[in-house]
Amino acid sequence: MNPTCIKIEYYSNHTTIYASGDWTIHNVPKIDRVLKGFSCHRRLVWDFSAVSSFDSSGILLFMGYHDKFLSHCRVEVVGYTKAQERMFRLLLAHKVDDLIPKVERGLFYSIGKNTVSSYDVFVKFVNFTGYIMVAFLRYFTHPKNIRIKEIVYYMERSGVGALFIIALTSFLVGMVISYQSAVELAKFGADIFIVDLAGISITRELAPLITAIVVAGRSGSAYTAQIGAMKITEEISAMRTMGFDPYYFLILPRMIALMISLPLLIFFADMMGIAGSMLASYLELGISSHQFLNRMQEVLDIKHFWIGIVKGPFFAMLIVMIGCFRGLQVTDDTESIGYQTTASVVNSIFFVIACDALFSILLTKWGL
């Protein structure tokens, strides 16, 4: 088989292009290179008798050059089979000169599009919040609608399931802050103040924040992906048409479950964080656990603990609302599920921190 698939012979009164071998997609670029440099004059003969197989790219290549040569010389085609001719006719019938429309996306296009869609998402979110509030209030007038079984299920999934990772992170954070401050406090001989420092910062700020961030990453993303997948498979539409409001069936159970379990998780994180701090204080400053707990009883005002716990339901509400809202924003393509899940986690962590800042400002104003 001729590896180049093409040979050009010049005769006195005409030129013949001898085609051979496979005029198929893998040889087409080679043939194309040979033909590119060739220009005919007077009479041209294409001889296809030695071609073993054609595919559509081979025929399209031939068609392109055939049209080109036809414009300035007499062309003859010989040696093709019936099947090849049929294929040629099929392709000729489907040759299109129109271009596939392409969407040009300039800078201004994307700025405009992003602005509009951000606004759109904002309006939708406000709308969504309204729905949730109404649905939530309706729970009180129709307590029969409360889906205890789902709520308990989600409490187990997002609450109990998160215990280990929350224990680990808060224990480590408790240890780390105590280690770091121990060195500084020891310089002033104020060793015992480590208890004040760790006690207040863990119960009031760190435990709620760590818990909320872990839960946002763990459960918020799961909510988005679950609801998003349900949207793609049209399960949500099916529920709606059967009269099962997704707000009651999907969102509120998750929200109530997390609003109950997040404060409990924060309490658990408090204990683990203090345990971590206790260990670090013992190792670094030699404060015994007995001393540590005694001091804590004296200095740690109960209000710090309660402030930490009270943040729980607020964070939970933010996480579930953002997670479920993002899930409902998923459209028909696979990329959007990834995009929305990322957005869900990023947004809920941001809003949890922003909400925490708001708490700090308000509570300071009120002198708590």
């Binding site: 198929t24 559509s56 099929l90 040759k95 299109v96 129109d98 393509d333 696979t334």
Partner: protein, 256 residues
């Protein structure tokens, strides 16, 4: 010329205790449209998946275009994958790419042909399956069910395959669309000499374009051959499927 494109011998597929296929045999010849028929749950799609190397049978041998699938190496498997085209039941177009990009993907990855030529090929395929050219710029989520099937067929045809697998090509299409799709497949088979293997429940498709087919039931191929010979087969499923009132009436009005 009668040569075998696909030969499946003694295929056994089981999941734990559940046996789906029990020593199943079938043969597909070059240049024919071969149908696979069977009840829901008889393992048709699984059989197709085994042929296209998405699932390994528990035991048995499948030979496709001269390649024995049970001990094929990576290189040959990749080569074989370029020689066939597959139309999945729900299209399975890549949702992040436009229709044109979906069709172009294999051309771009596996060949050196230039952009101009690729565009030319893509446009021809789009037109061949009966889509308007502007559909090339659309994303799969913007297409209707029938258009998705056509676009997916165009993608399956991108590399000019010798072998085409179709999973329920006419399901979800309206009757007219389904018949058009049938004649399109027939035309492609006749003009391009493609061998087609399809899973179908569609009586009209079986009567009008399928050359030979097999019936899967009770974990076996209970009948294989042309319509005339399969109808003769003595099996409850064949009875139910071909000897009901609708099928009889359909048969009287003639096949081709």
């Amino acid at each position: 010329m009668k040569s075998e494109v696909i030969k499946a011998r003694d295929i056994v597929t089981s999941f734990g205790e559940t046996v789906i296929h029990d020593k199943l045999n079938l043969t597909v010849n070059r240049g024919e449209i071969y149908g696979i028929l069977g009840e829901s749950g008889s393992g048709k799609t699984l059989l197709l998946k085994e042929m296209i190397m998405l699932h390994k049978p528990t035991s048995g041998h499948i030979t496709i275009l001269g390649n024995e699938l049970s001990n094929i190496d990576y290189q040959n498997a990749q080569k074989l994958r370029r020689e066939w085209g597959i139309l999945f039941q729900f299209g399975a177009l890549f949702t992040s790419l436009t229709v044109a990009e979906n069709i172009e993907l294999q051309l771009k990855e596996y060949t050196d042909i230039d952009k101009r030529m690729r565009d030319e090929l893509v446009k021809t395929k789009i037109s061949m399956v009966g889509l308007p050219i502007r559909a090339g710029g659309l994303y799969p989520s913007e297409l209707s069910g029938g258009m998705i099937k056509r676009a997916a067929l165009a993608r399956a045809l991108a590399m000019d395959p010798k072998l085409l697998f179709l999973d329920e090509p006419t399901s979800g299409l309206d009757p007219i669309g389904a018949r058009n799709f049938d004649s399109l497949i027939l035309e492609l088979k006749e003009l391009l000499g493609i061998t087609v293997v399809m899973i179908t429940h569609d009586l009209d498709t079986i009567y009008s374009i399928v050359d030979r087919f097999c019936v899967l039931a009770d974990k076996h191929v209970v009948a294989e051959g042309t319509l005339e010979s399969v109808i003769e087969a003595d099996h409850p499923f064949v009875e139910r499927f071909f000897k009901n009132d609708y099928a009889k009436r359909r048969l009287e009005y003639g096949g081709r």
